[in-house]
């Protein structure tokens, strides 16, 4: 199905109104909703746009590259007769493109196997395969506590100045298809990586590029770049172009694709800007009422389908303005994605890397990707136990900051100790440290063994018998 309609079209000379990135053309003839438009300024330069609204007499067009230099009479508008398509092919891996799929690396235009509508189409829920194969990232807080599954969309919720980029590159470097604990890892199935940068700085883009080179991954990465000084309107297209390629690779070429989208907050800002110019009724914080639907049209393009072995796993990164998780961007994202990994400023200040706050983090698909046959039979219980214990640590810390550590129950003192060790030994790891799932689970047992057995109500008695470290108890357990 390569129904490309980008040929001919009809042209109109002169526009009637220009406002921000929006132009209004009257008497344009028959134009379809969502059609692609080429705008040619008086210098003969071409830029691309899209029809936002169409009526009998007028057409509203958003211009991706902005309207600087356009004039009322000197602008020619060519309507191309169909929605936006990009050429996709396997040879796009290893290349760098702008939002619209034009090469930025001085290489030739890639040969197109197929033209894909960048808006994609919703996956029929009956055609999906429920994701169950876990991805071993080598990061304990993810593998042990918030396991990532192939076909999942799991965002990093971060803040300005936090090492979310390092975490993302570490995941890219270390991600392999997981095997049950103790079994040697299968021939490491490599992921193809589609990277979309939206409004990030040159430095951030360079960081990713270097990390891909270092990891030897550059030949299997396709990068779509819309940097901070590129036109914001183009940002609305970047993730869609990237995901169109990812869908092609995953569902036509049977590849496992990891998609990194950064930074979704910039994307939402651009959406707000356009909505604002169009005079739409805003909902929270000026964002349009359809922000949820719009975001879901990006995030829902992850998953697996019955007719292909491939998968799309999404790791969107977003910076929470003012570290506020209730801000509309993280809030609506959290309602669509299958969990979230929260990067925490306090842990970062303490010098802990990766500073992942496990309590507000969550992986919704974890439950079906772990346990016997996937990781290890006790995984679900031990992670729940660590969660419960660490949640209690927070209460104890609050209490001890009021009454002092000395006044605490002895068991609560053990909890405090557990909390510190958890952060130092479990959360904290080197940026190059790649822990196996077994190491992570054993580490979990080492830690909970610092607590008396009676406190461990989330694990079964059999599991305690099998894994609880009795030696530890003699050392720390009894006073």
């Amino acid at each position: 199905m390569s129904d490309i309609a980008i040929q001919g079209g009809h042209e109109v000379i002169g526009v009637n109104r220009i406002e921000g990135p929006i132009i209004v053309v009257e008497n344009a003839g028959t134009v379809g909703y969502d059609e692609v438009v080429e705008i040619i300024d008086s210098q003969g330069q071409t830029r691309v746009g899209r029809v936002l609204e169409v009526g009998d007499e007028m057409v509203v067009v958003e211009v991706f590259a902005g309207t600087t230099g356009l004039s009322i009479d000197g602008t020619r508008v060519r309507f191309l007769g169909g929605p936006f398509h990009i050429a996709v092919s396997e040879e796009m891996l290893g290349r760098v493109f702008d939002s619209l799929g034009n090469p930025l690396d001085n290489g030739p235009e890639p040969l197109a196997d197929h033209y894909a509508d960048i808006n994609g189409m919703p996956i029929n829920p009956t055609a999906r395969v429920y994701p169950r194969d876990y991805i071993q990232t080598g990061i304990s807080t993810i593998d042990g506590m918030n396991t990532l599954v192939r076909g999942q969309k799991l965002p990093l919720f971060s803040g300005a100045g936090l090492p979310h980029d390092q975490i993302a590159t570490q995941i890219v470097r270390q991600a392999t298809l997981g095997t049950p604990a103790g079994e040697s890892s299968r021939r490491s199935e490599e992921f193809a990586i589609v990277f979309a940068a939206m409004g990030v700085s040159h430095d951030v883009a360079a960081h990713f590029r270097e990390a891909f080179i270092e990891g030897g991954a550059l030949t299997r990465v396709a990068m779509f770049m819309n940097l901070a000084d590129d036109p914001p309107v183009e940002r609305l297209v970047t993730p869609r172009s990237a995901l169109s390629l990812a869908e092609y690779l995953a569902f036509e070429r049977q590849m496992h694709v990891l998609v990194i989208l950064t930074d979704m907050t910039n994307y939402c800002e651009a959406l707000r800007q356009i909505s604002n110019i169009r005079g739409e009724v805003p909902s929270r914080k000026g964002y349009p009422g359809y922000l949820y639907s719009d975001l879901s049209s990006i995030y829902e393009r992850a998953g697996r389908i019955k007719s292909s072995h491939g998968s799309i796993t999404q790791i969107p990164i977003l910076t929470m303005p003012n570290d506020d998780i209730t801000h509309p961007v993280p809030d609506l994202t959290g309602y669509i994605t299958e969990g979230q990994i929260v990067v925490d400023r306090n842990l970062n200040h303490q010098g802990i890397y990766p500073p992942i706050a496990v309590l507000p983090s969550l992986s919704r698909l974890m439950k079906d990707g772990i346990g016997e046959g996937h990781t290890r039979d006790d995984h679900s219980h031990i992670s729940s136990q660590v969660y419960a214990a660490y949640a209690h640590v927070q209460d104890v810390r609050a209490l001890s900051s009021v009454i002092g550590e000395e006044e605490l129950y002895s068991v609560d003192k053990q909890y405090l100790k557990f909390g510190r060790s958890f952060e130092q030994k479990f959360v904290n790891q080197a940026a190059t440290e790649n822990r196996s799932i077994e190491q992570t689970l054993e580490l979990g047992w080492d830690l909970v063994s610092m607590l008396p057995q009676e406190e461990l109500t989330r694990v079964s008695l059999d599991e305690i018998k099998q894994h609880y470290r009795v030696e530890e108890k003699d050392e720390h357990g009894q006073e």
Partner: protein, 587 residues
Amino acid sequence: MEQIGKITWISGPVVRARGSRQVNMLDLVEVGEEHLVGEIIGLEGDTITIQVYEETSRMRPGAPVFTTGLPLSVELGPGLLRSIFDGVQRPLPAIEMRQGAFIRRGVQIPPLDREDRWTFTPRLEAGVDVKGGDILGTVQETAALEHRIMVPPNLEGKLTWIAPEKKFTIEEPIARVKKDHREQELSMLQHWPVRQPRPYRSRGGNAEPLITGQRVMDTFFPLAKGGAAAIPGGFGSGKTVAQHSIAKWADAQVIVYIGCGERGNEMTEVLQEFPHLIDPRSDRPLMERTVLIANTSNMPVAAREASIYTGITIAEYYRDMGYHVALMADSTSRWAEALREISGRLEEMPAEEGYPAYLAARLAEFYERAGAVETLNGKNGSISVIGAVSPAGGDFSEPVTQHTKRFIRTFWALDKSLASARHYPSVNWLDSYSEYLEDVANWWHAQVGQNWFEMRKQAMEILTEENRLSQIVKLVGPDVLPDEQRLVLETARLLREGFLQQSAYDAVDAFSTVQKQIRMLGLILQFHQKAGRIIKLGAPISVIHNLPVVNDLIRMKTAAPNDDLSKLDTIQNEINVQIEQLEAEYL
């Protein structure tokens, strides 16, 4: 199909056309050469405003608009159960067969299969007078449910012919009804407009609880059959898992599950899991009593708006047969957002947070379609509605949560801090409430145990007291509390970890019968009372805390399967023995 006009304006799912002044509000239309389905939502002079249930890209002004002359309706008849539809009742498996993994637009497939043959067993004989709701005959739709073919609500007359017991497709005639010399042929397939509630004879009270198998819901905050409940909670607080658990274990005969603007994978999970899970009551796969409506977040937003009505109309149809139906809508907030999005495109004046001013009215219309009724044929049926609410930022003061609270009577407030400690279901016992307590008390007392109301009250007192005491503990530490009060903290811990927490993924714990629930609660309260006596004798709280039976009480939920509660007898015995020993020590 008649052409009524031409398109003049397009913005996303909202399309305007100019043409006929003879069309009706809410009539179904088909738009453009591709015949995309839509609904008339506004008329002004000869301008017709339409919301389209499919993606409108590439549509052009000047394209034709057709009408069916009928309002948006659902097809009702055998074959609904085990189905999965989109928001306007298109069958998703058939769409997959025809189009592959992705949903393209312009597909027209009837919701119910026209080829399937069902064995119709007549219940009436020709010659009798019939009226709306009367049961003409039955079809065994699934092993779990007998489908009752009824006379459509607005029809009455003399039954002139009825088919013998035989297999029919849903379109073949199975009866004829004559009134005033006009004879009408009936088949097993009927239609009903989704925005119009189906009629019933009278509304009844809510005397029986809807048992969900979830202890915190059944014992603490019960929902009555025919009642309405809301589950509000921020993301990650476990709304969907709670809804799934209810869909799995609720003692309703039919489940309608609406995935309204939520994740695709969640619907896939239900689709893959329900055919394998066995309903503990009918011993049949859960799918045999389930109708799924899936309009995921990336499917067209106007169809999301319709999905709620599609679901509740199907629920009403089964209610009218005399069944207890439970309907889950996950999530009503996404539905409200669809209203907001369409309202915005229509440039209506917004009220709070951009929502249209008619939000409350629409919510009320929806929740009021819940209820226990006497049906037109004199049977008792009910619809219990459980709506998930996804408040922005987890803040319950936002408009959808606040308006919903006015129309529901059971409020299961999910709590993010409980969820992050992995306390599930994260129903906060201090913020939740049920107004059905008194209504269902008689049922509990007659069916389960004489003192349910009293026990529940005691347990709630302990939990409320714990909250008050923990405020003090936070300020000055636990040591200042007298041992009686520290016992309250200890018992509250037993209630929280041993009773309220329930694992949806544990084979034994996922579902508790009411008998098990009341026994468990009874044991904890007994322990509390007996331990209180020992403390009065001067025993310190630490000896109580260290009793081995404390651990048994916390683990009893997984140790005692529903069909063998003997483990609870053992624990009962242990409480007696261990406390007696202590008593002997301190007396």
